[in-house]
Subunit: 377 residues, 2 copies
């Protein structure tokens, strides 16, 4: 993985690139650049993390006689990012410096307070992550097809912006230029508030009875999955983006108060026929507003959600059956866009839900039926 | 599908079973019973829905000369359930009557007010559903392995309870006896409050900029997926369970108020070092409480979430490659517990994440590497 691959295009990034912080993101940057043959110098205050990143092929530690870096990528924890950027800008007076912290206005404010040279600084936020963290979870494909937000300082030079844009492109990401406020408001609504909501819902489960939890379905699992996130990391993200997150949460609380008042009205009524229509309308409007909002969420493949057709097939729960099904899908000449498996506890059969382009569904259903599969319609 | 299958056990349910309401649930009940050879008589105020249910094999319309039903399953919309149960109890004085409404105390209160014969009534709540609705979405496997809550009236006879328990078992569900209050409190916390939270988060996306939405990731998709639910159905569910949902939402609002106050404190601070530790502690405690709650959610297979090992493999995005991978997994003798696909927009490669029992992961990784697959570690 550390040797350049002939088939890959020539990198736009000029080395040496200095990566400060060899966690998941920094190590993944190093791995991606090394595949393109770019010289990567790694630094981390933890010698273990540094050695791990080197061992997986993300680059090499600094050596005596190294020339100055052309680009510095600061991939430190969010609450120390600004300080490290200031140090790196000072230590490498000809280098472009970027960071990967997930809140941008806050870092920029601190850099301004510190009087840093902002002409050579570009804020980055690669929208990529994994459920595992640390250098051992790093992969060169981490950024593939993901948005990479670029935030100029106001005095950032075009050359500095171009250097960080080239880094994003080299790693397979899609560069998006935003200002810090636009970025921070965007991540508040698409990431930080959903995180808070998932945590608040999951927190209610702490005291719930075991028998209540046994009734949980996929809906609860989906809503609360990200509630498993790291408290220390999220405390610093939320504190750093406090104003933007607060604004969205305040709107959410207003709607929540409306729901609570409507539920009070429904409880006070003596029967369903006596609930005031106004209270029911508030509940219906809340769910309908959610319908309208979720319809705007882009699909897994980016862009608007594509209206795939779903073909559900019963699959005996023994090794090889799913492979046989997918072989049949391939032989039918149909491209599988997505696949979801649904198991039933203790039952010898599961259901595979195959997403295909709508025009292919009827053909696929016919082919699978002809091959003896039992479809669930 | 309408002929009994020799391999299936003899049903515990005695027919004729009358199903009132041929939507998703009623039609699925009919399909499951017909597979066991039980006589099913269908009724629906909509002649179209009734004809559709008959055509998919869920049973037959009533005929002149039919004997009285032994069991009536009321699968009407939640807000008319109690009225229909009252009518069915009166019309069939020897039948056991059950309903499938997702809130139970409310139905029982209305039946008591109406002076119904509660010795023959059992409330049911099969915890099953699909994203599609109506008779055409019905499947006999809908209840397979899912909990089926049974709620007695206090005067329900053991024979009536046994009849509805047999129905649940015949349909492959797992019967769970609860009283109405326990059931309603349980679904408030595991289903109704998550639904409200998903709607409130998704509602915030209505006014968000297109460029903000383009930054959305899997977390937002997961949290908001169920926000696509039907407003009319959810209005009646929330109104029927108003007191229990209100109690959980009030606790959630208290925590939300704490988060908002902590964000205000963070915003008022002049830099990260000056944020009061108390404010940061509130944020950290909120995320940690979510960690503790989500850890209690049972896994996809029922029971506690099993700690599967994940093996991530790069898969060229061309037909047949995924089938080839799963064939290799099968030939390695490893049982695939779950499979998730991650695509990258516009890229010729995707990632398949295979969940296996922890003891199988190393073996599978070695086998797949030997067969030329590229693993992501």
């Amino acid at each position: 993985m550390s040797t350049p691959t002939a088939a890959l295009p020539a990198p736009g990034t000029t080395g040496p690139v200095r990566v400060v912080g060899t966690g998941l993101l920094g190590t993944s940057v190093g791995l991606g650049l090394r595949r393109l043959g770019v010289d990567v110098v790694l630094h981390d205050p933890s010698r273990t993390a540094l050695a791990l990143a080197r061992d997986v092929g993300a680059g090499r530690p600094a050596e005596a006689g190294d020339g100055p870096p052309a680009l510095v990528v600061v991939a430190a924890p969010p609450d120390v990012t600004a300080r490290v950027v200031v140090e790196e800008l000072a230590a490498h007076p000809d280098a472009v410096v970027t960071d990967v912290a997930s809140v941008k206005g806050h870092v920029l404010d601190e850099l301004r307070l510190a009087g840093a040279d902002l002409s050579r600084y570009v804020g980055s936020h690669p929208m990529a992550g994994r459920e595992r963290s640390g250098p051992s979870a790093a992969v060169p494909e981490l950024f593939l097809g993901r948005p990479w937000v670029l935030v100029g300082s106001g005095t950032t030079t075009p050359a500095a912006l171009a250097a960080v844009r080239a880094l994003a492109v080299d790693l397979g990401a899609v560069p998006v230029v935003m200002d810090a406020d636009e970025h921070d408001a965007a991540v508040a609504v698409v990431s930080h508030v959903p995180q808070v909501a998932a945590s608040l819902v999951a927190a209610r489960l702490q005291e719930a009875d075991e028998r209540a939890l046994a009734l949980a379905g996929q809906g609860l699992r989906d809503v609360t999955r990200i509630a498993a996130s790291d408290p220390a990391l999220w405390t610093s993200i939320l504190a750093a983006n406090s104003a933007a997150v607060r604004a969205v949460l305040a709107d959410l609380r207003t709607d929540l108060d409306g729901v609570i008042a409507a539920l009070d009205a429904a409880t006070a009524a003596t029967g369903p026929e006596t609930v005031e229509l106004g209270a029911l309308a508030v509940l219906a409007r809340t769910v309908a507003a959610g319908n309208a909002g979720v319809a705007r969420v882009p699909g897994k493949h980016g862009g608007a959600a594509r209206p795939y057709a779903l073909v559900a097939v019963l699959v005996p729960d023994v090794p090889g059956q799913l492979a046989r099904l997918l072989t049949d899908v391939g032989e039918a000449g149909v491209n599988l866009e997505d696949l979801t498996l649904e198991h039933a506890a203790g039952r010898p059969v599961g259901m595979a839900v195959i997403a295909v382009l709508p025009g292919s569904a009827a053909h696929l259903e016919a082919e699978l039926t002809a091959r003896g599969w039992r479809l669930v319609r």
